[in-house]
Each structure stands twice: as structure tokens, then as C-alpha cells.
């Protein structure tokens, strides 16, 4: 009995570890256990798609930095870009597109949920162009953690009334017209990356100065 209980304890701890690490089983941040790998376009032009979601033609999510040639580093950038696309797909679909649940966890997931809720309750959506510039990998740690930076320009990205189509303000808070986005990424056992933490620094701040 003692042996059996110890085995159960070890197994449960291992199970917890496996859920988080993606080593014994693919890590599912907060959703289903078997997400199909999602194919997303990496260049943000009108008509881009994500996991069956067709972005409206009046929305453009531009990634202006060429993807790295090295496949391992490209996978890290893909993880970030896919997170961004999933974020805006969630907002534009008013939460119906749930791809973000496989692309984000931690406060990055909370950020998506907040944005979805904001646009759901205000009867608004987004329109225009948001550009992710100067995207670079700040570091890759132990092969399974990474740190990505990007300068985001949302000056041409607007909130519009879903009924009238009238612009009602900036898509993001005014202090985030231009900002530095810094994400932590984790690697799954299948080699894909997802965003595990998010920090934003307005361009007016010291940390965000490189994005002015």
C-alpha cells in the first residue's frame, strides 16, 4: 500500500510537471488536450487567415521584419507572430476564434481575454493597420525558453463602432500608440513555441525608447 501511494504521488507530480513542461505530454496552456498545429501566414497582409479565421480586408497585421533563416530561431518568431494573429483574431471574432488558447498562457492569455472583453462589451471592433517592427530574439535559454522584442506601431489601428463603422478612438490605449512589446516564450515538445508572459513599455518610457 505504501509503495502504491508513493507511486501515485510521484505519478501525479510527474503529471503536473508533464503538463507544464511539454516533455512527456504536449503542454496545453489552458485549453484542449489535443490542439492541431495551426498554420498561420507569417506576412500580415489583407486577407490573411488564421486557423480557419479570415481576417477582414480592412484589417492588416504587418510583420515588417524578415523571419530568421535559421529554422530554430524562425520557430521562435513564428510563436510570437502566431500569438499576435491569434490575439487579433480573438478580438475581431469577439472571442469566437479560440486559437489564442493554444498560443498564450499566463498574463499573455489574460491580456487577450481582456482585449476580447473590452471589444465585446463596447460594441466595437478594430480596423486599420497595426505594424510589428524590428522584431528580434533577445535570447534563447536552455533551448526551451526565449525572449522576443518588437516595436509595435498602432497609430493606424482604430476602434470602430460595429454598427455604424465610425471611428471611436484608437484601438489600443493612447499610451500604446507606439510601444515595445517583450514576450517570454516556451517551447512545446512538438517544437512549436507559445507566449508565456508579456510586458509592454510605452515608447515614451525609458525601456520603450527604442520604439520612438
Amino acid at each position: 500500500m505504501r509503495v502504491r501511494r508513493a507511486f501515485l504521488a510521484t505519478a501525479i507530480l510527474a503529471g503536473v510537471a508533464a503538463c507544464g513542461s511539454g516533455s512527456a505530454a504536449a503542454f496545453q496552456p489552458a485549453g484542449s488536450l489535443s490542439p492541431a498545429p495551426l498554420q498561420a501566414p507569417l506576412s500580415g497582409q489583407a486577407g490573411q487567415r488564421l486557423a480557419g479565421y479570415q481576417f477582414p480586408s480592412d484589417v492588416s497585421i504587418d510583420f515588417t521584419t524578415p523571419a530568421p533563416a535559421d529554422p530554430a530561431r524562425r520557430a521562435v518568431i513564428d510563436g510570437y507572430r502566431n500569438y499576435v494573429l491569434a490575439l487579433w483574431a480573438a478580438v475581431l471574432s469577439h472571442g469566437k476564434n479560440g486559437a489564442y488558447q493554444q498560443r498564450a498562457t499566463g498574463n499573455a492569455l489574460a491580456f487577450v481575454r481582456r482585449e476580447v472583453a473590452r471589444y465585446r462589451t463596447q460594441g466595437t471592433t478594430v480596423q486599420g493597420t497595426i505594424a510589428y517592427n524590428d522584431t528580434r530574439i533577445a535570447g534563447v535559454y536552455f533551448g526551451t525558453g526565449a525572449d522576443v522584442l518588437a516595436c509595435v506601431d498602432s497609430s493606424a489601428f482604430h476602434a470602430v463602432n460595429t454598427t455604424t463603422g465610425a471611428t471611436v478612438g484608437p484601438a489600443l490605449p493612447a499610451r500604446l500608440t507606439r510601444y515595445l512589446e517583450n514576450v517570454a516564450e516556451g517551447k512545446r515538445s512538438d517544437g512549436t513555441w507559445f507566449v508565456s508572459r508579456l510586458a509592454v513599455y510605452p515608447a515614451a518610457s525609458t525601456q520603450g525608447a527604442r520604439c520612438r
Binding site: A6, A9, G15, A30, L33, G106, F142
Partner: protein, 347 residues
Amino acid sequence: MRTRLLTVTAACAVLAGLGQGVPALAQRALPAGGGPAFSHFAYSRVQVTGDASPGALGGPAVYTPAPCWVEPRFAGTNSYHRGDPQPSPTGDADSYWWWFVGQEPALAGVLGRIQGLKQAVNEVFKAHQGGAGWWWVPSWINAGISGYSCAWGLVHRLNWSAQYLEYQFPQKGGPDTPGHPIDGRILADLARAELALPAIKVFTSPAAGKPSDVNLPVWVWVSYAGPRQPTDTASVPLPDGTTLSATVTTTPPRVSVAVSTSSARLYNNCGATGSKYAGNAAATPPCGVTFLAPSTGGPYTITVTAQWTVRWSDSTGESGTFASPPWPAPVQAGATTVTVREIQAIN
């Protein structure tokens, strides 16, 4: 094996399902705090004392090594106590496990109510109660997000049985210990990154703002806004009551002079402070410059640099230096300008 996989799968299913219920924990503001006694290091008991500037770690280029490590936190005698778990950063390993999962749900993996989980976790810690090993925890630099990214990578690379807590034999550094445990080298790196080299102030004779003449020596000296040979120490308490530490020391600075024109004769026997003018206008200064042409295109710039050599040694007898690059050169610089006139002959 089948049983284990089923257990894992079932646990994951429950955990994943309940993961939707923990966003409140995940919505904490960034950067993450580290609990009591932590400031710029998250979940760490590392302290840096001496001529240190903690804010220096906030600069993205200041710290080039991996900005995370694992730290021994509890002895085997503090694995479990009756009444556990009582989530807390102190106390024992069992309590820390539960506290940390609340602090960092994303790093720890989703976790919710699982029947029997508390007892099962307790079993793991109970099994090591009184053992000779130590419980190790991840720690990182709490500036920006790179430390967290690093910790994520490290924790998942190590694949610990308790995910972010592991029971291992005591280690006190030494070369090439696996798992990136804190050692003298890491402590030295932290101390080096926080080392506050004093700013310098440049003085000249003739003084700044007063013109000099062609072929008239300009004497140069400096003052330091702080200890001339700064030193600091990073230390971490170990579960056995001892302390692992690394101290960074500096040699006396070497001052050198450079100017913005090639029409000059430099005197670079400056030592640590340069040469203050002592009243002999005909003497050649050990530290200074003689301009050989007037500054017709605007004042000349005199740049003065103080450079140190930085070394470290730790409490286990290891020692070393810091290569530049990747470390920034240990220098401070100051500058002044001088207008140089042509000497007017008097007949």
C-alpha cells in the same frame, strides 16, 4: 508504464480544464515580484553588498550570462512538517511548492483542485524529510522579461520531478556542475553587473573655460565620485547554514588622455589620478597634453579615461576575471574642451 501515462493524462485533463479558473493569478502586473526580501532578483536570496548599483541590472546589455539559475532553499530536514501545506516562501519545501504555484501559475503549469493531490504532494516531500539532500528552486533577475524566459527554459530543460522544485545532493559550486546551480561564477557575474565604478570629473590647468597656448602644456587630473577601488560581494545563504559568496575587486584605475587632434603631444604617465598643476609652468606634466597648433576649427576636446581591471574570487577558492566583450569594458570617461591660441611673438 500504461498506468503512469493514464495517470498523467487524467491529471492533465483535470489540470487543463481547471486552468481556465486561474487567470486571476496570471493577471499580476509585470515584472514579477519575488516575495519577501526579493527585489531585483526573483525568488532568490542573493544579496549584493558593497559598492553596488542594483539598478544596473535593469539595463538590457548589462548582464550577458543566462539571467537565471537554481538556488538551494531548504535542507532535507525542512522537506515537510505536520500541518503542511501552508503556502509560504519560507518554512519548508512542501509549503514553498504550494506557494510558488500560486505566484507563478504559468511557469508552474496549470493546477487546480484534484482529489488527493494535497496528500500525494505531501507524500513526495514526506519521503525526503530528514534526508541529506537540498531542495532547489529557480531564481532569476527581475528586470524586464528575460529572467523569466530563462527560468522557463531552465526549469523545462531540467525536467524536475516536482517541476520547479527538486531534491538533489548539496552542491556548492565547482566547475561545470549540471543544472545551472548557483555557484561562485554566477554570484561573481551578479556582483560584476552591479559593481558601481565611480564617475570621474576632469580638471585641467589652464582651467576649463580659460584659453591655452600652442606649446604650453595642459595639465590633466581627475577626481572620483566614489571609492577609487570599488568592490562588492554577492552572497547566498545555503541550507546548511553556511554562505556561498563571490567578491569582485578592482585594481587601482589607470588614467589616460586622448585629444581630438593629431597636432598634440600626449603625456600618459597618469597613474590613478593624473597630475595636478603644482605651479611650475616650464615643467612637462606626467599627465596632460601639449597642443602644437591652434584650435582654429573650434575648441579641442580632451577625453580622459579611467580603466580598471576587475577580478573575482569566491568562498570556495575559485577565481577569475571578466572578459570584454561580452562584459562592457570597466571604464569611466570624462571630457573637457580647450581653446588653443597661437603664441603671439613680442618684439
